[in-house]
Amino acid sequence: MRTAIDEPDERPVLRLTDVVKTFPGVKALDGVQLEVRAGEVHCLLGQNGAGKSTLIKVLAGVHRPDSGTVEWQGEPVAFGGPQAATKAGIATIYQELDLVGDLSVAENVFLGHEPRRFGFVRRGTMVARTREILKSLGHEEIPPRRMVHALPAAGKQVVSMARALSHEARLLIMDEPSAVLAHDEVENLFHIIRRLTARGIAVIYISHRMEEIREIGDRVTVLKDGRTTAANLPADTPTTELVSRMTGRSIEYVFPPRTATAGTDDLLTVTNLSRAGEFRDVSLSVRPGEIVGIAGLVGSGRSELLETIYGARRPDAGTVELDGRRLRPGDVGSAVRAGMGMAPEERKSQALLLGEPIHRNMTLATFTGLARFGFTSARRERAESERIAESLELRPRDVSRPVRTLSGGNQQKVVVGRWLLGGTRLLLLDEPTRGVDVGARAELYRVIRDLAAEGVGVLLVSSEVPEVLGLADRVLVMREGRMVREASATEIDEDTVLDLVMAGSLMEGAPA
């Protein structure tokens, strides 16, 4: 299977030369070279904002390059729109889920190219073909007639993939497909990718997780600031080299060392917290300066738990205490005033005012505190935001840029930065590094650790077990809405956690 690639005269199916794409004020692509061969998994690496998503949007016909050439199967092409690209055999799974919530799974898969007769959708055919595709993806349990908004995030990702596969694609582009997937789902995804490449289909794969690239990738191209800094490296290039190509410097360690600063009295005490259908009888505590990590599968109720502790959801039973004082259930305001902060799971829909500038997003939870007699102080807000932007190494540093124009990782920094402004004493982090690049990730880890060193308690939810183990002082494992294990992070290893966590994924719960 791999032999073809090793042949020196193998002609690439796709070749990009000197591609440039400028947005007002930003040169997103500044001379990109890329070469992809049939049947290979070609990984794109780059920091947040390096231009990966922009590059694939150029390939998918969404953006037109300002200059440079795109050769597809030996011919120079200029796609007029997404449909032209799909017709030519390029299918794309975008970073932002491009699904329509009120259409069924089958309708989403075939949106824009429905099997039809005289304008009528041939629903039987469509459902049957969807079922086939889902089966080939190993997800026959997803009912093709189910509305997409009723699917969990992982299910949505599968539908996105099914949609890409519904075209006769020669090249499949995946922009961070694993970001919303749990461990076992990623394995399944790789399985599918291998089957596709075996049929000679080329895959462009984007991810910030090095171990994935090592496992699935054949060759790697690295982007930095819209430029190709290294092309066609073998996938087993040492991480340190890849990282230095991406960042222009080397990052020695990923997880900062633990500092034994945890206090003795509990900062947060959660007692027998329950919400019907989500989680039951959860008790936990966090001490000042301690990082507590919660591991679990997608759908195990961790986000709901965090939101309930934070007051964003009202518990059916149980109490939440901060410093021994009970918080009003279902009242975020009082939680924030008491010193809690949360970086929610879906930053775009839950945390950001996309059209507003960075500094207004950063001060969203604290502008009242910075105000005098109800009058806001633009000067102080900006100064504070600039300070945080500096310490988080936000790109761009200009805090008056609208958040919408930032890359995903930098948006996440804005969200975390929001809680570094005020007197936050307990920080709840839900998937804080989802879609965040290696460099920024290390910075975020450092920030979180520094916060803990200052005495802030952190409660962290992450689907990446190494992250929980590496960052947290104490680990809690959650399964189907219950806490099944609590241990010090040094006493437990990844395999144990995975064993505890596995009890059937969310997707298996539904009858076909």
Binding site: T92, D98, V100, D102, G112, R116, R146
Partner: protein
Amino acid sequence: MTATALETGRKRLWAGESGESVSRNLILAGVLVALLVIGAITQPQLYGDSAWVWSNVLSILQLASVVGVVTVGMTFVIIGGGIDLSVGAIVALAGVWSTTLATQSFGAGGMIFTAIVVGIAVGLVNGFLISYGKLVPFIATLAMLVAARGLAASISGKQTQISSSDLINGIASTKLLGIPILVYILAAVAVAGWVLLNRTTFGRRTVAVGGNPEAARLAGINVKRHTMLLYALSGLCCGIAAIMLTAQATSAQAAMANLYELDAIAAAIIGGTLLSGGRGTIVGSVLGVLIFATITNLFAINGLSTEAQNMVKGGIIVAAVLVQQFRFQSVTRLFNRKP
């Protein structure tokens, strides 16, 4: 598979698959029946006469027919992420244009043709301004409202124009199998709308265009052209409604169909259409129109004064929506995390 997993699985199945909208519509039907029962309780002597009850039901249906047709078009526009404030004005313009002496000289066929062509043409202008001129739908159709009423007044010279076509006027006065033709027209438009929305690529793409225009664009749908077609469809419905209203009034006038835009939007929203686009049902919209017509009828048979009517009507609207809300709180909580 454990029992609980199965259970949550079933629950989920119910939550998806438009089961939500089905039971939402059942509740609306319940509200409708409740209103009829209130009528029967308050006017027992009238409701004692079964012939009268039948004629009353027909009169409600007839009252609902014109706005109903307009609402079907409006439902498409709103599901597609837009809004059409000009529907009343289009009905008036189409009605006035089709009853000019010149048009009437071509007979009923010419009148119907004119009304429909005018409706579609104005709809296309709306659609063009919105898709290609990039105007906010609210502003574009508001401007069209003002302009179309002005044009209608200028064409009619602000006179009421009598329709002398017996064929047209007969649409309002003729019954088939005891049911007025107007009611058949509403039924036909509603069924056609349902099929269009649920069974054709056009309808499914409408949901996509309204629910996630970016996704629709990435899927290769020509969002601009589709948006134009949606407004044209609304215009077509207005053209049909213009003929129906002209037949009912045996005349047309620049001021007719006043504020139909509010009635149609309100009916669609009560029927479960999301004002932000991407969700809605034809059945719900028609039920919404019927509820409003039944309220009006209820007031008429009880001889309520206009001011009392208005006060009660406001209350009924709120109550009708609240009933749906509370029934669905549990289901919607799942989907809608916003407060």
